[in-house]
Symmetry: C3
Subunit: 326 residues, 3 copies
């Protein structure tokens, strides 16, 4: 299921993609994948030292990276050396997936009356793209849009005014009114006059028993996927950026925001309006106080609070010291 | 008006609801209500010591509580002792109101052209549920959904793309584009694999002259109601959780978030992005600075700021001390 | 382009507007404009000492102000002295623009099938108001509403469920799903029982190559305009209040909020969930850390962080001192 691809893919020989490199004409890239998910035939990229462990073990056949970082990669991988990994990755991804850098509205949408989806109940004015699959006993509210190739499982309740694209949704998922799921994330390369838009070829995976309250935005992954784990609940107006992976049984309160690519374990609870910076690793059973700003990795079982977030004991100690100053 | 009930109610004898208790077969529960609103014949619940004053005076006939807390209740009330009040309350509420724990989209919605609502102006594609009432000189914008039994007063201006359910709205209320009002709140009992969804049988009451800006979410009450007082204004993207009660003449700036069940007095002003924790009591004429995190009750006429919020003088003092350290 | 007016204007002689002043009957107000944009024949207002420099140089013919502030105005301007500038300004603006203080839904909207807009692609159920202009090669997603007189340039991609009013949008702009652009801002004069709603006669101007992610709200200006500069990118759920002016090449991360009337330079980057208070001036090349609360002007090239935001060095120093206290 998770290998499904939502974007038009051009079959270009690798010699055309990297004309300066010494590739045989017929060789092709199977897929573009992150270090830990790439397989034989895939292109990957390595741009941050913090992913050294994944770089050591990647099974990709090709990797875009810098000279310094290239030393961490397996010997048999074909390395493409560049000065700026993300610019080159954006260029190549755009060549292979030319329609993934802007969210072109799905013009294949049709009113539900013209389609046949059995054992699914629909409100009014529901619009469904081609090749959408919806499982039995699911209900889709009025004015909701489900774009092409989206798959929704059994017994899901999707509210009104919801927009879903580039997503795979498992069973018994509840999505309340007006959520936006699967749109492009905030990824681009800043340039004067006209930024380079980073193609987002990933998707959103929402596992069984998840509940997502009103007005949330869940961006799809750029190269990787965005994942919400089983039985995790999100409150209203939560913002989940691209590539974020949230574990099972988590509780995310209202207006929490995630920057991109952070990974959370299971049983994590996050209080309202907390913010989680990008590329962090949060362990299992972590509790993050409301309004906190998390800027460092958190070990399992920790309780943190504050801006920037520190272990709860430290937060209370600092507060006491501050008052003691008076 | 405020006793209106939006959810299908099953008439079950109390002996079936609590088979282990010694109830006569024919006895019935009139309603499920919070301590202070329950009347003779109603079931209530008591789970937090901070509501002791309300427990002392409740007029309910039945109360779910724990052994320790039960001592605070009036003598003549029939007590149902449990280990976990909210689990038992969820179980009973789900038996009586079987459709209140998930926001099933209203499939009774119909395009406005088939209905007759005089002296009301409608945009395009408005969808209205059965038994909706809208007062004269009100205007409802395009693509707006008003679900069954909602009541809207006179001279209200409801924008486009708005979704209203389980709500009673008084006169001269302005609700701007894309607000979501009356959906289920973030209430559940965490369980491994599959949380217990807490039924929300309350509603949203919006009093006269209120203005609510774009993209706000106002959850309905769980057992109690969510209330926005007269002439109170909310800016864009405000999140009001279940059971919150905001007084009259308040000003709530953009992106403010309320956790559940807090009660605000009149003339309260709250700066942008502030967060208010759950179950707090905020007095009259309170001013809360932008970005503050309020985690304690606030007396009337206080000005607070900071994270956590403290009286303004203390906030400024602390800031000065910090700078003095250098 | 920027002088376009979206609101019905009544042609009232100035003697009717200010009956207590000594105006000749036939004199008229050309327009109501802020100090720096008013021209000969226009009415302006001056209510905050911090705009003294603009007051000195205003070309307006009439100005509402207080006795103290009036000394800063050019000699030949006709001064209307009042106790409360904003109350008087609201009164006059409401007389001239009687429909600008509430967002009355546009009842001129029509399904796109009845209109002719060539070289534009539309999804389903798009609604367009009278006199809307959309440039060639633009695409408009399903369920999107574009109200009367809005102008959208060439090669713009507008997502689904978007609502745009009172706005001028240049070329190659991307607006993702469910943004709300051009609605009235949070401006009113607090009054017991019934606030005075401040008319918003400004608009939103979005320059070329801008990208705005899902669920953002951008309020139109009150007297001035709200402006998003060229090639500036906004992430999901950003709130931009009335009269805010953002420069070119800025990056605004998720859930950032702006209070009214602040002006940002070019190349400013703001981290997620940061808040910017009202009436501030932020220079060029400024970096504002995620979660910060900015309450003072920031010079060009500064990096700030914290709540309230201070220069990064100071923030780190304070953090160290705090830890050193232990």
């Amino acid at each position: 299921m998770s290998s499904k691809n939502f974007f038009l893919k051009k079959e270009l020989p690798i010699s055309k993609l990297f004309p300066k490199e010494n590739f045989t004409k017929t060789q092709r890239i199977k897929n573009i994948k992150p270090l830990d998910k790439a397989q034989n035939g895939d292109l990957t990229f390595y741009d941050l030292k913090k992913y050294q462990n994944l770089a050591n073990k990647t099974k990709a056949s090709f990797c875009i990276t810098t000279k310094n970082l290239s030393l961490d990669l397996p010997k048999k991988i074909k390395i493409i050396l560049v000065n700026n990994v993300l610019i080159e990755l954006a260029r190549i991804t755009k060549l292979i997936y030319p329609l993934a850098d802007i969210d072109y509205p799905d013009l294949s949408l049709k009113p539900i009356s013209k389609l046949k989806l059995q054992a699914v109940k629909f409100g009014n004015n529901v619009l469904i793209g081609k090749n959408v699959k919806i499982g039995k006993n699911s209900i889709i509210g009025s004015n909701t849009i489900i774009e092409q190739n989206v798959k929704i499982g059994n017994a899901c309740i999707i509210g009104s005014g919801v927009i879903i694209k580039n997503s795979l949704i498992e069973n018994k998922v509840v999505i309340q009114d007006n959520c936006k799921i699967g749109q492009k994330g905030f990824g681009f390369i800043p340039m004067d006059k006209q930024n380079i838009k980073f193609p987002h070829i990933g998707k959103v995976i929402i596992k069984s028993n998840v509940e997502i309250a009103s007005g949330c935005t869940i961006d799809r992954g750029s190269i990787d996927d965005t994942v919400i784990g089983e039985n995790t609940y999100l409150d209203n107006q939560v913002h989940v950026a691209h590539n974020v992976q949230i574990g099972d049984n988590c509780m995310i309160a209202g207006q929490v925001g995630f920057a991109g690519s952070s990974k959370l374990g299971n049983n994590v609870s996050i209080g309202g309006q907390a913010g989680i910076s990008g590329h962090l690793k949060i362990g299992n059973n972590v509790k993050i106080g409301g309004g906190s700003g998390v800027i460092k990795d958190i070990e399992s079982n920790e309780i943190v609070m504050g801006y920037p977030a520190v272990p709860l004991k430290e937060f209370l100690k600092n507060k006491k010291d501050k008052n003691g100053n008076r």
